[in-house]
């Protein structure tokens, strides 16, 4: 075991309180240029009843304290920049720094969404080129860049589908969702006004076609299919699934969360998909930032174009670009302004860096997943044995015999210097270990990961307690999540108020 711990050694990590605990009246970290107009009297300008004296409890600290505070906090995080982050379904790949640079340029970051369109041609050209690239990658006809994240993309897609069915006389009642789907799929379907019907997977992890046929009726608006599925398996029957749906007038929605397995190799549009979203913060490398921001463009076939959210990017005569809001059949707006533009900029920078060579990224991602699969097969249980695409899903069935579950293994992986894989998902695999290395890992990094996992499997046999009480080398041990939920403490309060609350 010690051999593998060589990857990660303990080192000094500084303690740091909450910023509010460092506050002392009169300190400040930011100076404004002097006011160059007469100072208004807030009492007169606002009226006494509207005026506030200052925000109680706001921190008062100096610049160096702010910098150190957040720098110290940052050292408590694991990150892609430190090493492999094999979270399945999350596609934690390298976030190129040039993308950050260009998103901050004057003339890009500084632009106001309501400025005249003749002064926004640069922004609009960025949007247009990104649209073209995404259409080429997906094989679709039209795309909207407005949705702020994958889940909002899903909602946009379902609203488009709903509008389409309404136009054809009846919005229909149900959306079919496989049991392996992300939780956002059913949550989204409900917001779009649909009932959710779960569809079973067969023993091979594919859609159970008999079950599907049974449930596709004229009441069904769409099937939401993740492909490759959350098992990392390519849904081979997709052209046939599309036909079954279309025969009943239903549409095929594809959750593009796993597009990193397909880019440059095959195109959902060619496979019979009618509408799909992309997670630019997954496949197209925009940083996760601890949970966003993302962007969830929705690409679709021509039949859904009339219902696009407004505004729609259009090219006028002479190549002038414009945003058109006058569209009668539009589903409306899902978000104010023009999408998460700064995220869209980063995604385009990523695509431009690769060009057509983007296929190599896909190939390497699939290569890494299969290399890890090969390295761990026989040591961890592989419930679905069909070939893996960009991720591989094991289960903890073998280790469970010694009382060690997937969460324990995940926590022990932290001691070896890796971020855990995704635990306990997809729901159809009890005790799942969902591993997605992405293309950003070298052979050496994959080898270290395989070694670490093998070593933990050994530990699970020989010293299960060691695994069950992991992590041991972090600055903080396992946290009391039950207590956190039972008596939620969701903000800091000054000491005297806290003790009062405790009484």
């Amino acid at each position: 075991m010690s051999k593998h711990l060589n990857r990660a050694l303990r080192h000094i990590v500084l303690n740091e309180g909450l910023i509010f605990e460092k506050s002392s009246p009169g300190k400040r970290a930011f100076d404004l240029p002097p006011l160059d107009v007469p100072a208004a009297d807030p009492r007169k300008a606002l009226g006494e009843s509207h005026r506030r004296e200052g925000v109680d409890g706001f921190p008062e600290v100096s610049e160096i304290e702010v910098l150190r505070h957040f720098t110290r906090l940052s050292t408590w995080n694991y990150a892609i920049d430190l090493g492999m982050y094999p979270l399945g379904s999350c596609t934690m790949k390298y976030n190129p720094r040039v993308n950050e640079y260009v998103a901050r340029l004057a003339g890009i970051a500084t632009e106001h969404p309501y400025q005249p369109q003749e002064l926004s041609q640069g922004c609009l050209k960025v949007l247009q080129l990104l649209e073209k690239c995404l259409l080429e990658i997906t094989g679709m006809d039209v795309v909207t860049l407005q949705p702020a994240a994958g889940a909002q993309g899903e909602l946009t897609g379902l609203l488009l589908i709903r509008a389409y069915h309404e136009k054809h006389g009846n919005p229909r009642k149900r959306v079919l969702i496989p049991d392996s789907a992300h939780g956002t799929n059913p949550a989204t379907a409900v917001i779009a006004g649909y009932e959710v019907q779960n569809i079973k997977s067969d023993a091979a992890g594919q859609i159970d076609m008999a079950h599907l046929r049974e449930h596709v009726t004229s009441d069904v608006a769409a099937l939401m299919l993740t492909n490759p599925s959350t098992l990392g398996i390519f849904e081979q029957q997709i052209p046939e699934i599309s036909e079954i749906l279309h025969a009943q007038g239903a549409l095929l929605y594809m959750d593009g969360a796993n597009m990193n397995a397909l880019t440059g190799v095959t195109r959902p549009g060619d496979l019979g998909v009618d509408v799909m979203h992309l997670n630019l913060h997954k496949t197209f490398s925009t940083p996760h930032g601890g949970g966003g921001p993302g962007a969830g463009p929705v690409a679709m076939k021509k039949i859904l174009e009339p219902y696009l959210p407004v505004p729609v990017l259009v090219e006028r005569e002479g190549g002038r670009l414009a945003l058109d809001s006058h569209r009668k059949e539009s589903i409306g707006k899902v978000k104010a302004f023009n999408g998460n533009f700064g995220v869209l900029v980063r995604a385009l920078a990523y695509i431009l860096a690769y060009g057509p060579g983007i296929r190599q990224a896909t190939e390497d991602a699939v290569l890494n997943a299969n290399y890890i699969r090969k390295g761990l097969e026989g040591i961890f249980d592989l419930p679905y044995t069909r070939p893996s695409m960009h991720e591989v899903v094991f289960s903890d069935a073998v280790q469970k015999r010694n009382g060690v579950n997937t969460m324990d293994i995940a926590k022990r992986l932290i001691d070896y210097g890796f971020h855990p894989y995704t635990t306990a998902f997809p729901l159809i695999v009890p005790g799942a270990l969902m591993i997605e290395p992405t293309e950003s890992e070298s052979q050496q990094e994959c080898d270290l990961f395989i070694d670490a996992m093998k070593s933990i499997a050994e530990e699970a046999k020989a010293t299960p307690e060691l695994v069950k009480t992991a992590p041991h080398n972090t600055r903080i041990r396992r946290l009391d999540e039950v207590g956190a939920a039972r008596k939620p403490v969701l903000r800091w309060k000054p000491a005297e108020k806290q003790s009062k609350a405790a009484d």
Binding site: L18, I19, A29, F30, P33, L35, A40, P42, L46, H50, G54, V55, F58, V66, L67, T75, N77, A79, D81, L87, M92, Y101, A109, H112, Y114, Q121, G122, I137, A149, L155, L159, T184, P186, A187, G193, F234, V265, H288, G289, G290, G292, P293, I331, G332, K333, V334, K335, A336, F341, L352, A353, G355, P356, A361, V366, K374, K411, I414, A485, R491
Partner: protein, 448 residues
Amino acid sequence: MRYLPKSPAEREEMLAAIGVKSVEELFSTIPEAYRLKMPLNLPPAMSEAEVIDYFQQRASENSVGYTSYLGAGVYNHLRSVVTDTILQRGEFLTSYTPYQAEISQGTLQAIFEFQTLMCQLTGQEVANASMYDGSTATTEAVLMAERLTNRRRVLVARSVHPEYRDVLKTYAKNSGLHVEEIGYTAAGTLDAKGLEASLKDDVCALVVQSPNFFGAIETLRPLAEAAHRSGALLVVAVTEAVSLGILKPPSEADIVAMEGQSFGLAPSYGGPFVGVIASREKFVRQMPGRLAGQTTDLERRRGFVLTLATREQHIRREKATSNICTNQALCALAATVHLTLLGKEGLRELAEQNLSKAQFALQELQKIPGVKRTFSTPFFNEFTVELPRSVKMVNAQLLKEKIIGPFVLGSAYSELTKHALVCVTETTPRSEIERFAAALKHTLEQPL
């Protein structure tokens, strides 16, 4: 390719270890007929320098060199380089949602601090981290009110940001929610009479914005009382969060939906920004989005975890409070760092400067013959003026002077085509305000 850490020999070695002859074999489950035979038709690969050059060219086709009087939900404020320095630390930038608490304490503690700052600002007891933006936060606040009251009608002031109302209507359409709009008075604030007539016992929420879209500050207490009398909740949207540095917090509200863009985030052509929902403790279990909570580890040390996850989609699926998953975490961090830098004094001074600049600008504009203040209600850094001619035409003239004129209210309110929404922040120097006033005067002196 510079982002890919493999040599050709390593790829061969890995393929051999897997036991396949070529990478093509790894894609054998994709039916042959559907596999692309040609490379994608994308622009040729670019070096780093070429990528920068491409975006610099695009930047030069935008508005660099212009002074702008646009606000209307997106504000230009000073940002410290310290904020961006912190944001670009890889440990924050390149980490995932902090599900694995032991190695995500940095993000989790920062979220906890963000929640605290948002509560202090809004006068509320709990705040989430985070929503996509102010528009979706407002919509989610209404959906939350619907769950809390089990009622289906929502009253929205017409003085709420037009795009926020649009987003609400998109979401409402299919969830059985009926949206009704309440007009504004000659003072630019919510029409109390119209409210009285519409406020029945089937209303889940009254939604107002303060300062509202016209810049006017709403008096919230009577609105809260009216809403509560009929069993509805008061939702207050805040688009210009800096105003809370000098304005009474909306503590009368049951739910506050805020846009945090003003706290350290660039306008960025409309996003990414950060939405927040703040509310009362008793409503927390109906709140959407992520929450970080304080707890202890096995050795009784303080730590933080994502908590109350049973509200969320990854646990509750179709019964979740919202479908939100990825949110705007890094933007919330930007706001946290920015507000920590500003601190109590800095935020107050910033708000006072905005107030003073806007007051000065109004005085300067009022000196121009034919320019009148539209509404008499107090404002923060945005106000509405009536011009003697169409704002659209005036703005076209101002562009020639490298001035991006104020927001054309007629684009969202057909009755206000001659009215302009002027925004002035601490970033607009006095000399520019004077130049704007002179250019406007000159424009209005020209024959039509």
